[in-house]
Symmetry: C2
Subunit: 278 residues, 2 copies
């Protein structure tokens, strides 16, 4: 590790002071307004940085601090980033601690370019299966929905009228790396409804008041599964749109299921129906 | 609110000092060893306290601090607790802030008796449907599983070899009140396997390496759905037990689904199959 450390100091630019302007830049990337203006967002942690590299996500800089590496092989991430032409910068412990968003940093913190696709750029399966997350407020919920969309094989996630910033660090973290694997678009309800109609994609929306259960919906064709914020549910523009409203039957207390749980149950029901149909 | 406040001060014992021994007791209830020794645990927040009262859970004391009440009708919770013979204690802001586990307290913090059922005391549906959470490490995951078990109509949750303390405040909180609604037992794998076998309850366990998908399992009879910790999965004693191992097909990245998501998909598949069977 020592030998590696000396090599690193020779090979890479290094930051030793907490007053370095790049540390300030990293700290400011915690603000969504700054992320938007800069078109950049922080990607912290080995799993996240590795996923981003694997998916070819545009990383600009990787700051690394070997003092925080839990295992020596964390150097491999630096090598992989360097090989992918990411600007790698060695950082001392104090500035890294200041820049890090985590209580227990693992010594890897990248800056990535933000990227959101337009609806027309989204990939479409055969038949398409989209997850629409409408008005989601908590970044952690968006991240969990990305993880679920990834596992359950949705083609993409569309954030409808997003309240949470898609590039919020909590969204990245909660996705456990799926952030870099699932195509994401953001759109207003109006634009999204028009686009779905043009594409002939059927809407299946989950709402507690629906008469039908999710098992009565047909997921075998082109489908967008629409879930809403836990507190407010789906807005009237959705509920009035042509499509099928379904509910997950709930026993027990009146509290609705977590939005991510509802999405997962619907997407796996879609997978089941599609397997039966084949 | 003022008038109510004066009445409260007359009606109830009050605590004004942060050095009051009961404040210290409340702070110590954050430690699982203290909770175990005392047979008591903290229940904080209006939703949680209301759920506990509604479910007839044995509350010992309700500490309340009107300075933190977000709305005047929080007094109703105190009235309901008082009517249920719970010892109600008025608290000043400083001691309440010290005792509270939350960043933004809502002025209600109860102490409840711990309660875990034995396997033989668990209620059984017709046919039984149990959720077994094996070796769960994170209290928040246990809480989320309780919420899911509640919504999806499982009869009870059994914590197999629990690592997380069932009465951890994060478990209570993540359950969104379902903690007080879903019967819970804890048992060793050995005792649990013997009990399930005696009761003729079929085991359906989720494990990523299984050949069958969850849709190939039969959930229409007496069933225990078994999910394991995300990091370690199910121990060999489970995998070797008679029963059906199933997987949730996963697209995308290799990371497994959240344990709660897996449980929800299985329990809703059980609900679907049981509806079809009827």
């Amino acid at each position: 590790m020592e030998a590696w450390g000396s090599r690193m100091a020779i090979m890479f630019e290094s930051i030793t002071s907490v007053r370095n302007p790049r540390v300030k830049h990293l700290v400011r990337l915690r603000e969504s307004s700054h992320r938007r203006r800069q078109g950049r967002f922080p990607v912290e942690g080995r799993r996240e940085v590795e996923r981003a590299l694997q998916s070819g996500w545009p990383l600009e800089t990787l700051y690394f601090c070997p003092d925080y590496f839990p295992r020596e092989d964390a150097y491999r991430v630096v090598e992989a980033a360097d090989a992918a032409s990411v600007d790698c910068v060695l950082m001392d412990k104090a500035p890294f601690a200041k820049a890090s968003l985590r209580e227990n940093p693992d010594g890897l913190l990248a800056v990535a370019h933000t990227r959101t696709l337009s609806l027309d750029d989204l990939p479409a399966g055969d038949p398409p299966l989209l997850l629409v997350a409408q008005g989601i407020e908590k970044p952690g919920n968006l991240g969990a929905l990305l993880r679920t969309a990834d596992a359950a094989g949705a083609d993409a996630l569309v954030a409808g009228d997003p309240v949470a910033d898609l590039h919020n660090p909590n969204a990245v973290r909660a996705s456990q790396g799926s952030f870099f694997h699932v195509p994401v678009a953001a759109a207003s309800t109006e634009a999204l409804l028009a686009w779905l109609s043009r594409r002939g994609i059927q809407i299946v929306m989950t709402t507690p008041g629906a008469e039908r259960t999710l098992w009565e919906a047909d997921f075998t064709g082109p489908v967008a599964v629409v879930v809403g914020a836990e507190s407010t549910g789906l807005p009237s523009a959705w509920l009035a749109a042509p499509g099928t409203a379904v509910r997950l039957p709930m026993r027990g207390l009146a509290d609705s299921l977590n939005v991510n749980t509802a999405a997962a149950v619907c997407l796996y029901e879609a997978m089941r129906q599609r397997r039966v149909a084949r």
